[in-house]
Structures are given as structure tokens and as C-alpha cells.
Amino acid sequence: MLEISRKASAAYWMAALAALAGAVAMLIYYTPVEETMGPIQKVFYLHLPAAINTLLAGAAVFAGSVGYLWRRDLRWDDLAAAAADAAVILGLVVLLTGMVWAHSAWGVWWTWSPRLTFTFMLWLLYVVYVLIRPSIESADRRALVSAVYGIVAFLDVPLVYLSAYLMPQDIHPTSINMVGSMKLTLAAWFVPVGLISAGLVVARYRARRRARTQETVGCRRPACA
């Protein structure tokens, strides 16, 4: 059984990497260089899919949190925690690609423009989720506090979004004039980013499940939070 799942997961990651290689090839050879931005514009193909997957990961945290409060089953808590890990990593990718873009386009690494503010606040929400977990000892209490926080954090996202739009001076492009090949590449990038995000959630989930089983068997590892 374990052998099969190991093979399946290896095949999955191979497929994800192949999709990533294909997407990178498309980015290099297929899409034209954008006129005003130059080659830096190409981080956009990673930026947008990562941003959307961050939100999806936040939704998964929410689903896991509601599931835990409803069923009181630690598997839901593991799912929420795994999704939060993915949200933090994806959010970091969004922030870093965004900063590279900002530096190239506007000459500064950071401005408090609405979208940057929104991404930053969103990322902080899930960083806190991941950070507080190890500081609560009891597994049930940790799951409970995390679940309440996961629900509140996700409901907070639209409010964070709206409030960020009150910040003055938006220099972030809301839409880019894209030719057909750019749109196709963007669509293609959703595949590897989506596969890697989902794979990340599953991998983190399984690691947490394993740690939990070892915990009950008696092998105490501090890393199971």
C-alpha cells in the first residue's frame, strides 16, 4: 500500500515538474517581450496564478477549520494547517514576484498601494496562523484556537481587500494589454502552480498525519505542531 502511494506521489511530482518545465519553456520561447516593461514583465505569469492559489489555500484553511469545529476530528485540523503552510509559501511568492516587478516598473521595492497592502496583510494573517500553532501544547486546544482563527481570518479577507482599496494612489496595473500568446502562457502557468500548490497541501497533510500517529504511538517529536 505504502509502495503504491509512494509511486503515485512520485508520478504526481514528475507531472507537476513537467508542467512547470513546459510553462517555463513557453515563457522563454513563445511569449513576446512586453514593450514597456521588458523581460521583467514575465514574472507576471507566476505572480497571478500564485496570488489566486494563495486565496484558494485560504479557502482550504477555512474549510478545514469549519470541518474541525463541526466534526471535532483532528484530520480536519491537519488539513487546515497544511493549507496554511501552502498559503504562507504562495503568499511569499506573490510578494517577492510583486516586489521584483515593482522595482523594475516604479523603481521602488515597496509602495503602500492597495494591492501590495492587501497582499501583505493577507500574508501576515496566515503567517500568524502557522506561527501560533506550536505555542499551544494541547492538541485539541491548538486545533480549536486554530479553527476559530482560520474562520475569522478567511472572513477577514474581503474586509482586508476593501480596506486596502481606501489607500491612496493605485499604480498597480489592473489589466495588461495582452496578446493571444501571452494569455495562453498565463493559462498554461496555472497548471504547474496549481499542481504544485495542491501537491504541497497533500504532502504537508500527510506529514502531519504521520507525525500525529507517531505521537500517539509514543514517539514524541516536537515538530508535529
Binding site: T117, M121, I132, Y149, Y165, M167
Partner: protein
Amino acid sequence: MTTVLRQVALLTMKDLRIEARGRQTISLVAVLGTLIIAVLGLGLGPEGRVGGAGATAILWVAYLFGGVLSFEKTMAVEREEAAMAALLLAPVDRGVIYLGKLIGNLALMLALAAVITPVAVLLFGFDLSAAPLAFAAVMVISMIGFAAVGTLFAAAVASTRLQGGLLALLVFPVSLPLVVASTQVLVSVFRDGEPLGGLGLAVLVAFDAVFLVTSWLVFECILEP
């Protein structure tokens, strides 16, 4: 309906009576808030370069830290001599307990604001005379949302024994929309002379509504003796 109101009033009065007899929380919180104002004042220098938006930022820092401390304190009261177990045995809905705690916390926060705001006005020379009512309204609406989230999380971490920094860590990122929206609303009122309203106020009211309802629903699951 009247019984519910009576129950809420009873629970609130109980908390306020404890506070009135000991005056532990309010004196602590007021001194902490004043200290924060003093630190910011010393850090920003004697020239008083702080403008309208800076005023709300300074007040928010004091309100946030003071608020978290008072949420902690009002919940800690219940852990003395197993008061929480008695409270849970009382034939009242858990939502009523939440409302009672929330109103008690709000009263504390308003008392805190009543102390800190004049101190800040005095030390920094803020000019609130253009629209004092708008300022008060924005702050009260923001505090309802802040206290709604704070009361929920204070109850969630109450039995974890390591509240201190943890509660602040949970409450601050979630409350960021309040800080952003209230600051922008007050900037538009004081600097641009616009009447109170718009998207900013809508975000504040939506924050209150979303988290009052969510906390009422979730509170059921998190109380433990």
C-alpha cells in the same frame, strides 16, 4: 427577548462590579496606554510633526495594546476559583455570555479611550475640533469590531496558559482593516473636509456585523471550564 436582555445586563454588571471594586484592569490599561503615547511622543520628537493620519495611528497603537490587555484581564477573572465552570452551569445561552463579556470589554475600552485621547490631544496638539463627533463615531464603531474579535480570541486562548503575546498576535492581524479604514475615513474627514461616510465607514460597519455574528455562532464551541 427581555430575559435575554436581562441576562446580558446581569452578566455585564457582574463584570463591571468586579472591575469597579478592584479597579485592576482599567488602571493598568490606562497607564499602559499613556506610556505608549509617551514613548511615541519621545520617539517622534518635540516638534510635533504628526499630522491627521498620524494622530489616528498613535491612538490606534495605544488602543490596540490597551484593548488586548483588558480582554485578557476580563477573561482571566473567570479562571479564578473555577468561576468559568459556574458560569457554564448557569442556564443561559453561550451567546449571552459572549455578549456580556463583549459589553464589559467595550465599557473598558471606552474608558481607556476617554483617558488616552485627551492625553494624546494634549501632548501632540492634535486638533479634533473640526469634527469631534465624527472622530468619536469612527472610533466607537471601530472598537465594537475590535472588541468583538478580541473577546472571541480571549475566550479561545483562555485555558492555554500562555495568553500574553499570543492574544495580541491573534487579534492584531485580523484588526488591520479597522486601522486602515478608520485612518482613511478620518483623513478624508479632517483633511478634505468631507462628511462622514463612504466606503471606509461601510468597511467598519461590515467588520462589526461580520464578526459579531461569527463570534456569536462560534462562541458556543470554545468555552471550557
